[in-house]
């Protein structure tokens, strides 16, 4: 952890109208590290995650990924970055309902320009790795919630991103499924060397992380002083 962090958010400031969602929020992730963002509802966790991923632009402050300032990039550049370097898992409703699970996993590869056949081949491997090969030909609507989340995890990792952003990935799952998804997710991320920014309010889910940061009223509380 002595080396430079891979992704740094500094002094982020963001308001939606009169609500201040982020206020001097600062956070960093090192390569290969799993960071859990915790905190009460409405504290700004998702907003922070969106800013770090270059989905939202902060009003002030800077997000640096591998030395490049995300906030200064053109929108297309950030899109390309998200396509190639980042992966995403959300709580629900992220799979394209009309594509099969296999095609869903292949989608990011195809967006990145891979051929259809090659994309489907690696998608298949990822589905197998997350133990959901049996839903490959089904549409997301025909898979269970847990299977769907595994497909989503496979889709987030299929491009071998450097950072995976996960916002309550097990929020809609029961304990057993949630645990299994987290196990597979974190194991796969560690295998591929991806860093993970994980928003959760469940301590058991956060226990899969290397480090946690607590967001409260738009600020990140650093725990370093106690350690």
């Amino acid at each position: 952890m002595a080396d430079e962090p891979l992704l740094i958010a500094e002094n982020l400031q963001l308001s939606f109208g009169s609500t201040t969602a982020l206020e001097h929020a600062t956070a960093e992730v090192h390569a290969g590290e799993v960071l859990a963002l915790m905190g009460p509802s409405g504290s700004g966790k998702s907003t922070l995650l969106h800013c770090m991923a270059g989905i939202l632009l902060p009003d002030a402050g800077r997000v640096t990924y591998a030395g490049r300032d995300l906030t200064a990039m053109h929108d297309d550049e950030r899109s390309a970055l998200r396509r190639t370097e980042f992966g995403f898992v959300f709580q629900f409703g992220q799979l394209v309902p009309e594509l099969t699970c296999l095609e869903n996993v292949a989608l990011p590869l195809r967006l990145g320009g891979a051929s259809r056949r090659a994309a489907l081949r690696s998608a298949e491997a990822w589905l197998e790795r997350l133990e959901v090969s049996d839903v490959a030909g089904k549409r997301p609507g025909q898979a269970s919630g847990g299977q769907g989340q595994r497909v989503a995890v496979a889709r987030a990792l299929v491009t071998r991103p450097k950072v995976v952003f996960a916002d309550e990935p097990t929020g809609a799952l029961d304990t057993v499924n949630g645990d299994r998804v987290m196990q597979l997710f974190v194991a796969a991320a560690r295998d591929t060397g991806a860093a993970v920014v994980l928003v959760t309010h469940e301590p058991r889910v956060a226990a899969h992380s290397d480090r946690e940061a607590v967001v409260r009223d738009g600020r990140v509380r650093q725990q370093e002083l106690v350690r």
Binding site: M38, P40, R204, A207
Partner: protein
């Protein structure tokens, strides 16, 4: 030692007689196990000896008329105690609860306390998670048991902190 810290914390609100301290303690933390009067005096005596409290003499007072006040050393002792996370283990409630209430009484941030404790809990939970994910079935069952209890503690602490904060004004008043 919890009772000592509790009495110290109560004294931060202002000097008090031994009997008043027992009454405050019973009201807030005693529940169905009130503090024995003798224990109050022995505890105060120890605190006095350690220089954490001092006695404000009142003219013509007997021993039960002595008024105790917290010293500077006492104040920092309370602060240090509050900042120190408890070693995560089952059935911490009474200690954690005392801490939360005292934190509020003494004007400390209950969130700090929560965050500190969570960090400590998570540290243990990470170990348990790692052990569970790599261990055999027996390990898994034991680890899960511990994990659920630790999580319950943390959640309870979160809820308590939130509730107590809502009542903060009332408690202080």
């Amino acid at each position: 030692m919890t009772v000592g810290h509790a009495l110290l914390g109560l004294l931060e609100g202002g000097p008090a007689h031994g009997y008043d301290l027992k009454r405050s303690y019973d009201e807030r933390f005693g529940q169905d196990r009130p503090l024995a009067y003798g224990q109050v005096y022995s505890t105060l005596a120890r605190l006095l000896k350690n220089g954490l409290v001092e006695v404000e003499a009142e003219p013509g007072a007997g021993p039960e008329r002595k008024k105790y006040a917290i010293t500077q050393a006492g104040v920092s002792d309370v602060a240090a105690w509050l900042a120190q996370p408890e070693k995560p283990e089952p059935y911490l409630q009474s200690t954690l609860y005392t801490k939360v209430v005292l934190a509020l009484l003494t004007g400390h941030d209950a969130d700090d306390l929560l965050d500190t404790q969570r960090a400590e809990h998570l540290r243990l939970m990470r170990d348990l998670t790692r052990r569970r994910d790599t261990g055999d079935l027996a390990d898994q069952l034991i680890c899960d048991h511990a994990l659920f209890h630790l999580e319950a503690d943390l959640r309870w602490l979160e809820v308590t902190a939130a509730r107590v904060q809502q009542l903060a004004a009332q408690v202080r008043g």
